[in-house]
Symmetry: C2
Subunit: 178 residues, 2 copies
DNA sequence: TTGATAATGAAAACCATTATCAATATACAC
DNA sequence: GTGTATATTGATAATGGTTTTCATTATCAA
């Protein structure tokens, strides 16, 4: 039986018509790309994939359609550290309602972790309920990001420190964090 | 008594010399701005403030110095949704080790919340310990961001829906999320 | 099929950030 | 203090992701 909000294979199609927007070939191509992807994509990623299916598509349409989809609540957009936004479907079987990352502030590396999430879930279900009520905010997605130093950069930092010690005229009482 | 890592009023000054970098007027001006700010700032914010103290300063120096400070671990940089990065001191009395935000995906509004943080702290202290060990990652800062619809946009969305219903030729079976 | 209008894509504009490079300021040796 | 090597600076240009513009095309209800 059909569900009220539509979460079946083409749950998003009804949204277009329902909102007074036309369901065109480029738009189908874009949502299809997002639907088939199992991770978040950049606008360019989406462009390249959609281009294979529908070569006439332009990058402008990608951005415009993505904005539309975000407004409709079909797509979730978030800022990744590299200057490019990432997009993913906000519902359906592939939808991920949360992101958990370790971000290295030195090299920019991003580690997506899946550990300890179960413990978090319990806490967040309470927190989200409280926040929703207090701020009357409808929470759809969650991002937990830890910033710091990855294994490699912690080590390199020490190396850099040594190198500086050799080439520099400065005082030797330097810390590890250079 | 002086502390080993330096967290006093000018804790960051030693870092420059310690790392073999010169402590110049522009650099002092930039850190002073960050030190006096009680929230995260964009590069332009910092430029405008530093410019008042030292008008000869250029935007280039702002970016360059910020990068340096991030590398030294003095400044924490993170992506805000609006395409501009934000910066803040990573230590000292004004330093904030965590950010908790509600981000509206429709209007872009950001609500910084301070509720429920105590409960989170307990959980995160465990999670951070586990992650640090597993990935050998030194966690310095934390970002918790909930995406969704703010109060106003939830309501506007309904209004838009009505408007569409009047001006559109489309089927009336539209959802609230347009 | 038609006609009003929504949607498209190429190109230009925009804006935050980065790279280039000649000029300047700094720290150290003397 | 003076000189010298070099780190630092800032104006300018370049970059790259995203948005705007505008003439053309596709869509849908009638």
């Amino acid at each position: 039986m059909p569900r009220r909000n539509g979460t079946g294979p083409f749950w998003w199609r009804g949204r277009f018509k329902g909102c007074g927007y036309r369901l065109t070939i480029p738009r189908k191509a874009i949502v299809d790309v997002l639907d088939k992807a199992n991770k978040h994509l950049s606008a360019e990623d989406i462009y390249l994939s959609a281009h294979k299916v529908y070569p006439a598509i332009g990058l402008t349409t990608i951005y415009r359609t993505l904005e539309l989809l975000v407004q409709m609540g079909v797509v979730f957009k978030f800022a990744s550290g590299d200057g490019r936004a990432r997009y993913q479907l906000s519902a359906g079987p592939k939808a991920v309602k949360y992101h958990h990352q370790l971000v290295c502030t030195t090299c920019g590396r991003v580690i997506d972790y899946a550990d300890f999430i179960d413990k978090e879930k319990e806490l967040f279900s309470q927190t989200e309920k409280g926040l929703s009520e207090k701020y009357n905010f409808k929470i759809l997605n969650r991002l937990v990001r830890f910033y710091g130093l990855c294994d490699e950069c912690s080590q390199q930092r020490t190396v850099t420190s040594h190198k500086l010690q050799v080439t520099s005229h400065q005082s030797p009482e330097r810390s590890k964090d250079c």
